[in-house]
């Protein structure tokens, strides 16, 4: 069995993925297909490790987040990767890390897909590594945008014609799958995403400079963590099977002495951390 490709994909594209190809048979891998046709079994990420949290006793399950200029990757590492789990817990956040990992999916119910990464290796790196990765991922994303456009031009999108244009077989197959799966695909969204990422690399072009080290001071960090804890506790208290209504959460939290803006910020931060999600618009549920 040959080694599977380590795709370069931004979190903004990866987290949009909801197409899953399950391998049948023991040694056939599963894939996540992104809207731009990346057919991902394995990925390579360089970004900022923002938090690491143990979810089970004896560090049997650890959750971590790695942020890139477009979004956040959720990492889950368990007892079957003790070395990686140990490395994650030892790195002092925030830190720049290089991660090779496998694509994982979680489907709480039919049609709802959450993607995450099960890391195979994690190493601490320097900011230059992140910049190189960001540039490389911009180029890879542009290649996929191009491939999707070519695929859409074909009257019958098929992998054979795309490989003849020089795209890899994996990408050609992924693009065909993506075109059939994601209806009304908004390619321009990803063009904007690439531009945003490029602007981070050339700050004088009017973009925000990519913070050299992830922003918050320890004190602020602690403060916002406290708020998150309060909000999370309130959601847990009032949620039912279906979750809790956004407005109810805000109301309860304001009663507890928080202002609306802080609460909304905190709900977003809890979502980023993967502690809550939005099963239907306006409803929040803990994971």
């Amino acid at each position: 069995m040959r080694r599977s490709t380590a795709w370069r994909v931004f979190a903004g594209e990866y987290n949009d993925a909801s197409a899953v190809v399950k391998g049948d048979g023991e040694r056939v891998p599963s894939y996540v297909i992104t809207p731009l046709g990346a057919k991902i079994n394995r990925l390579f990420i360089v970004g900022v490790l923002t938090d690491v949290e143990s979810l089970a006793e004896n560090n049997e399950l650890v959750r971590a987040h790695v942020s890139d200029p477009t979004g956040v990757f959720a990492l889950y590492s368990g007892q079957f990767q003790p070395d990686v789990t140990k490395s994650l817990l030892e790195i002092e956040v925030p830190a720049f890390v290089a991660v090779v990992g496998k694509a994982r999916t979680f489907e709480p119910e039919e049609g709802m897909v959450y993607v995450s990464v099960r890391p195979e290796s994690v190493y601490e790196v320097n900011p230059d590594a992140r910049d190189r990765w960001t540039l490389e991922t911009c180029k890879s994303t542009l290649d996929r945008i191009e491939a999707v456009k070519e695929g859409l031009k074909l009257s019958q999108p098929n992998a054979y014609d795309l490989t003849k244009m020089g795209y890899s077989r994996d990408l050609a197959e992924g693009v065909v799958k993506a075109i059939n799966f994601y209806r009304n695909m908004d390619v321009e969204k990803y063009v904007a995403l690439v531009k945003e990422a490029l602007n981070y690399l050339v700050p004088e072009k009017g973009g925000e400079e990519l913070p050299k080290v992830d922003v918050k001071t320890e004190e602020e960090n602690k403060e916002s963590d406290d708020v998150d804890d309060t909000v999370l506790a309130i959601i847990k208290e009032i949620e039912s099977e279906e979750g809790a209504l956004w407005d109810d959460i805000v109301e309860k939290c304001m009663e507890a002495g928080l202002d609306r803006e802080t609460v909304e910020e905190s709900i977003n931060s809890l979502m980023d951390k993967g502690l809550v999600y939005e099963p239907v618009l306006g409803t929040i549920k803990t994971t």
Binding site: R2, R3, A6, S168, K195, K205
Partner: protein, 425 residues
């Protein structure tokens, strides 16, 4: 719905013969019934032909029309080549045959998994119930236990004569049979070999075109010289771990041409290299995504050069190890990944430390410290590599004879890309 049902019925009638004991109306009724059930018309046709021909007349397919993943394929063709091979199937040793089949429309590879089938080169055979697969973009015919092969008279098929296929070096892996290439001779030397007790002179070397390089063996003195550009019509290709080897003899037509051929040293995208499995003296670029265990300062057995563990060689027992330095990398360009082996001198250059320095670090801080140093220096870096790439069941591994870290001006490249994108929108 299919409008031209009647043309399908015509086909069926002509295949099962006019004197078959079935009315046209009956055929049409059954055919339409299959279509109502969503059976593709070609499949319905084949089923009916089979049903009413009582197995007397079979529809033979032309090799050029056979597609991947078909079953019940019937062929009338000639065995162009056949070779035995020992393989293990679920741990059991088994003898299989592989080779090429040809008819007037083409040549395709086959594998026979059945022990009861015997084939000879040049036989014209009727094959029934074969199945097809795709392997590396090429359709392949397989014979299983249900497949039967019957030798028939030679005159059932015209002698297969195929024009050698015009081809670039990078496409040799998809060519079967004779090829037609225009190449530059990169080096050549004379060798004496023993063929069935007879001494023979052969001319071996490397050649290339703008897509890649290959080894060659000429069994005839074509007076080839380094730098010559020649057109070789009628050579055969074999592969060793993905490295192409072109063989030709006095039956081939070799002529010097005045055309200029540039041999390429441009990096090959990794997915192309992996698809070809390997390559001779290829250039590639990619990012180091892993520095494997076993990299760094290692000790080898003084007798056999094998890696030793805890001062013990697997073959020679307790030995005094000889130190060495190497890197085992995984390099991936986002389209595919390969393994890379980097020897002592190149590793020294890549990490900016000499072997002696690494040896000292290993003895003072332990071997792990050298591995950490390698990871610190190489992980996430873009590298340009050159060397022979060998493919096996675990993927492709490049043995580096040249390795450099690529200097990237990220800001400059990002700015150029941004300007290009803004120019387009």
């Amino acid at each position: 719905m299919v409008d031209d049902v009647s043309s399908y019925i015509d086909d069926i009638v002509s295949m099962i013969g006019e004197d078959a004991e079935v009315e046209r109306e009956e055929l049409e009724k059954e055919f339409r019934r299959f279509l109502e059930y969503g059976v593709p018309p070609d499949q319905a046709k084949r089923t009916l032909v089979k049903k009413f021909s009582n197995g007397k007349k079979v529809e033979f397919r032309k090799l050029s029309e056979v597609k991947p993943n078909e079953s019940n394929v019937n062929l009338l063709c000639r065995v162009v080549t056949v070779n035995p091979k020992e393989v293990k199937v679920r741990g059991e040793p088994r003898k299989i045959f592989y080779g090429l089949l040809g008819d007037e429309t083409g040549v395709i590879p086959f594998t026979s998994w059945s022990s009861s089938i015997s084939l000879e080169k040049g036989d014209v055979v009727e094959i029934s119930n074969a199945y097809t697969k795709e392997w590396q973009g090429v359709v392949q015919v397989n014979f299983g236990e249900r497949t039967s092969v019957k030798k028939v008279e030679d005159d059932r098929l015209p002698e297969v004569s195929h024009e050698p296929k015009p081809c670039k070096i990078a496409d040799l892996h998809t060519a079967f049979g004779e090829v037609d290439v225009t190449v530059k001779i990169l080096d050549v030397s004379e060798k004496e070999v023993d063929v069935n007790g007879e001494k023979k002179k052969v001319y071996v070397g490397t050649l290339g075109d703008e897509t890649g390089k290959a080894q060659f063996t000429a069994w005839h003195d074509f007076k080839l010289k380094k730098g010559d550009v020649v057109r070789v019509v009628g050579g055969y290709t074999r592969f060793w771990k993905g490295i192409p080897q072109l063989t030709f003899d006095d039956r081939a037509n070799v002529e010097k041409v005045s055309k200029e051929v540039e041999v390429s040293y441009k990096p090959v995208p990794l997915h192309k290299l992996v698809e070809r499995r390997g390559g001779l003296d290829v250039s590639v670029e990619g990012t180091v995504i892993e520095v494997r265990e076993g990299s760094g300062f290692i000790e080898r057995c003084p007798e056999c050069k094998r890696l030793i563990q805890n001062g013990e060689c697997k073959v020679h027992g307790k030995v005094k190890g000889v130190g060495d330095l190497r890197a085992k990398l995984v390099v991936d360009d986002g389209t595919a990944g390969i393994g890379v082996i980097v020897g002592r001198e190149l590793t020294e250059q890549l990490i900016g430390k000499t072997f002696e320095e690494c040896k000292r670090i290993a003895s003072e801080e332990g071997g792990e410290a050298v591995l950490r140093l390698l990871r610190e220096r190489l992980l996430t870096k873009r590298v340009a590599l050159r060397g022979n790439a060998l493919g096996d069941e675990f993927g492709t591994t490049l043995i580096a004879r040249d390795a450099k870290v690529v200097d990237l001006d990220v800001r400059k490249e990002a700015l150029e890309l941004l300007q290009k994108m803004e120019g387009e929108s």
